[in-house]
């Protein structure tokens, strides 16, 4: 292992590879921060350019894009409530309220420190356990995925800020939305009024509408209000100290992020939601979550950055992508004539070890760019509301168009913008809707797959060990707030 590391260090520390690494970080910052562009789109756009590149710089560039984009998606989420990628939606829950109080500098610095810590912890976990995680990734079949989705949905009680009824309404709305499209098992159409809906409502444009565009409407309503003066952006060393009180949250969220990331198909959004829910559940000041509690940002950011390394574990050990971006990375590896699979560590150890080194070298660069950039980015909040509203609206539309080069996505964004605005005015929090959009398909398709395998016997589905444990956990999460309330009385 040590020799492999030394060999990989030699491979990475060349001008070409370092250039690829730095440009990867910068490209990643851009695609991540642009709502609509995700790390997987950014990496995929680069694939044609990697034809002529050597394997190591190509792979290093793609990995650093993946890492940096996952962080930078939180920047617009905090500043203007426009998550750059789905996972950053959770960051917006507390990040944006902090920004509205004028604490955007503090929120940004905290988010980059938490991201860095999450990436570091999960990076170490990846180096130590990538090969062990192969069996963990394979242990998840339909029954287990179904149970994982139930755990996610059980967080509804925790995530709902105010009324439980309103949270359930939000959840139901989201679940209805995900039924649109082709039935995942039977293949028949459900509410496909136009052929563009065959694949269902596109997730990313819907999210942009729900968060960013609905925020634009709110901004227009409050156009005449005075802008909160920006409070002083803390220095780098102060940011280290700012993270100190949340040590436990960072470690816990990074572990959740890594392990959820390992499960193929689960990914950063689910990691962020679970980690946020757990942090809130354990907090003595539950009520402050959603109103600008820094711990919410820490929980979300360290988890979704940890999920990056998590998703790389099944890729390196089995050739199975843990996320959409990891799938593109596999495409990149195949172009280079490499076979990502169980023999990668044996046949091409330089690839996984170069990825490890790239993660650790890219990490400080990402953090430094983030810390220095924060001072610049907070200036966005100084822009008068009507102007920033116009900018956010056009960037949202551009982003949803860019997602698939089609105006259909822009329409989805517009419609969800209006829906999001109405829901906000009715005090329905977007968290349960995001929960349903992220988990709906996983829940339905996998339950039905598990039922087919089990000859329609639900008890057989539940009797799988991992499934049983996860379902028990879900029940516990669901009833614990109620028990807590009773105890308080």
């Amino acid at each position: 292992m040590i020799e492999n590391f030394i060999q990989a260090l030699g491979l990475v520390f060349t001008i070409k590879v370092l250039l690829a690494l730095v440009s990867g970080v910068l490209v990643g910052y851009f695609v991540g921060a642009m709502p609509g562009l995700t790390s997987s789109i950014g990496m995929a756009l680069l694939i044609p350019f990697t034809f002529g590149m050597e394997p190591i710089p190509a792979i290093v560039m793609m990995v650093t894009i993946y890492m940096a984009a996952d962080y930078s998606a939180g920047i617009p989420a905090i500043l203007v409530n426009a998550p750059g990628q789905p996972a950053a939606a959770v960051t917006a829950f507390d990040g944006f309220p902090m920004s509205q109080r004028g604490e955007s500098g503090k929120a940004l610095n905290l988010s980059i420190m938490a991201s860095g810590a999450g990436a570091l912890i999960s990076g170490l976990l990846l180096v130590l356990s990538a090969q062990l995680m192969a069996s963990a990734a394979l242990a998840f079949g339909p029954a287990e995925y179904f149970a994982l989705a139930v755990v996610g949905l059980s967080l509804i009680g925790v995530l709902s800020a105010g009324s439980t009824l309103k949270a359930v309404i939000g959840l139901m709305f989201g679940l209805v939305v995900v039924t649109i499209g082709i039935d995942p098992i039977r293949g028949s159409e459900r509410f496909v009024v136009d052929y563009l809906l065959i694949d269902g409502i596109p997730f990313l444009p819907a999210l942009i509408g729900l968060f960013a565009l609905s925020e634009v409407f709110v901004m227009l309503e409050t156009a005449n209000q005075k802008i909160m003066p920006i409070k002083h952006t803390p220095s780098a060393s102060a940011s280290f100290r700012a993270l100190a009180p949340y040590k436990a949250t960072v470690v816990r969220s990074s572990l959740i992020g890594y392990f959820v990331g390992v499960v193929p198909g689960a990914g950063a959004s689910i990691a962020s939601l679970i980690s946020y829910g757990v942090a809130k559940n354990l907090s003595p000041t539950k009520d402050t979550f959603g109103t600008g509690n820094p711990e919410g940002i820490v929980a979300s950011e360290s988890a979704n950055n940890a999920a990056v390394s998590g998703a790389l574990a099944p890729l390196l050990s089995l050739g199975i992508p843990g996320s959409a971006s990891a799938a593109v990375l596999i495409g990149g590896l195949t172009i280079q004539g490499l076979q990502p699979g169980p023999l990668l560590f044996t046949n091409n150890p330089e690839i996984p070890y170069s990825i490890f080194v790239a993660l650790f070298v890219g990490l400080p660069i990402m953090v430094v760019v983030g810390l220095f950039g924060a001072r610049l980015w907070v200036q966005i909040t100084r822009i008068p509301r009507p102007i920033i509203a116009t900018i956010v609206a056009s960037v949202s539309m551009l982003g949803s168009y860019a997602a698939a080069n089609h105006t259909f996505e822009m329409m989805v964004t517009a419609i969800f913008g209006v829906i999001g605005y109405v829901l906000r005015r009715c005090d329905i929090h977007p968290a349960p809707i995001v929960l349903a959009l992220v988990l709906g398909d996983m829940l339905e398709a996998n339950l039905r797959r598990a039922m087919i395998t089990a000859n329609d016997n639900f008890l057989t589905v539940l009797s799988q060990p991992i499934t049983a444990v996860l379902i028990a956990l879900a029940v516990l999460v669901l009833v614990s707030p109620m028990l807590g309330r009773r105890a308080a009385k």
Binding site: P142, G187, G341, R449
Partner: protein
């Protein structure tokens, strides 16, 4: 003022260009290659490789555009709006045929089927420790305890599903003996089987090769006339005693807008055939474990019609069985 005149002249010229282009030999302009898949996947990578070679050979730009969504419907919409001049071409795989069954909007006649590029035979793979060593073992185990064995594959009424139904019939399995479990992709189905959540997966060589080499998976039969040179020990279905129509294979081809002249299609396909022979693409095809399967327009159209016919027949039988 001078700038204005230049701009005006350029604008006029640019309008005139397409007119003069039609007089030239094919292609006479840049080619737009519209893909129905997202960037980064196997179909995308192959198309980009092909575009690179076409560009070299034809001396025009070949611009690859990804129009994914709607299981190919979005790309079909794009193609049906394009000029039928042979300068707009599209990628196609068997998944289009599945989409035609679902969507009233498009069907096999909405485009011209220019040429096929490669084929990929289906195969059945199990976990190495499953105790199943042959197709006979699989059938025996399933018949001994109906419902205990499940097969994982991509989607409902997909190419893989029909391939499975063909085996199902050849093996004279009664309904409910082996359950079909549809996944979102062949890759997901293969992973589920590797994890022991399903007994057998209907998959491709490229997806199982690494696991076979690592000793965690075993291929028990390949749905093709001849054995694969990559896995020479794996018997074909026929060798194992199961007679199926081996023309049923996954394919990747090129489609063009409806009413594209046959001459343009043939000119395009002649170049495609040529570049498929280049060392670069030959190397890619063998590395990706694909089977060369070039077909010119007439042959490809017949092939697709036969596939469509079979899909419909099997779908009806499936519908009656439920």
């Amino acid at each position: 003022m001078k700038n204005c005149k230049t701009a005006f002249a350029t604008a006029l010229l640019s309008l005139a260009l397409p007119v003069s282009a039609t007089a030239q030999a094919y292609p006479g302009g840049d080619i737009r290659y519209v893909l129905h898949v997202e960037p980064g996947g196997a179909t995308d990578v192959m198309a980009r490789r092909l575009a690179e070679q076409l560009q070299k050979s034809l001396n025009v730009n070949v611009i690859v555009e990804n129009r994914s969504g709607g299981s190919g419907a979005r790309q079909m919409a794009q193609l049906s709006r394009a000029q039928p001049d042979g300068l707009t071409i599209g990628s196609v795989t068997a998944s289009h045929l599945g989409m035609f069954q679902q969507s009233g909007q498009f069907n096999i006649d909405s485009v011209e089927w220019a040429c096929n590029l490669v084929l990929e035979p289906y195969l059945l793979a199990v976990r190495a420790d499953s105790g199943i060593d042959s197709l006979d073992d699989l059938v025996e185990q399933a018949k001994a305890a109906p419902g205990s064995v499940s097969v994982a594959g991509f989607g409902e009424a997909s190419g893989g599903h029909v391939a499975w139904l063909m085996f199902d019939e050849a093996a004279e399995l009664e309904k409910g003996t082996i359950n079909w479990v549809p996944y979102n992709s062949v890759g997901d189905a293969t992973t589920a089987t590797l994890g022991g959540h399903n007994t057998v997966a209907i998959s491709y060589i490229g997806l199982v090769k690494q696991h076979v080499e690592a000793g965690t998976m075993k291929v028990i039969g390949i749905m093709s006339d001849t054995r694969s040179s990559i896995m020479p020990d794996v018997p074909t279905y026929a060798e194992a005693g199961f007679e199926v129509d081996t023309r049923w294979q996954q394919f990747r081809g090129i489609i063009v807008p409806e009413n594209t002249p046959v001459e343009a299609q043939e000119a395009l396909c002649a170049v495609v055939d040529e570049v498929l022979q280049t060392p670069e693409l030959q190397a890619y095809i063998s590395e990706a474990d694909l089977v060369p399967g070039y077909m010119p327009p007439a042959q490809f159209t017949d092939f697709v019609k036969a596939q469509e016919e079979a899909t419909k027949t099997w779908l009806t039988r499936l519908g009656q069985g439920q």
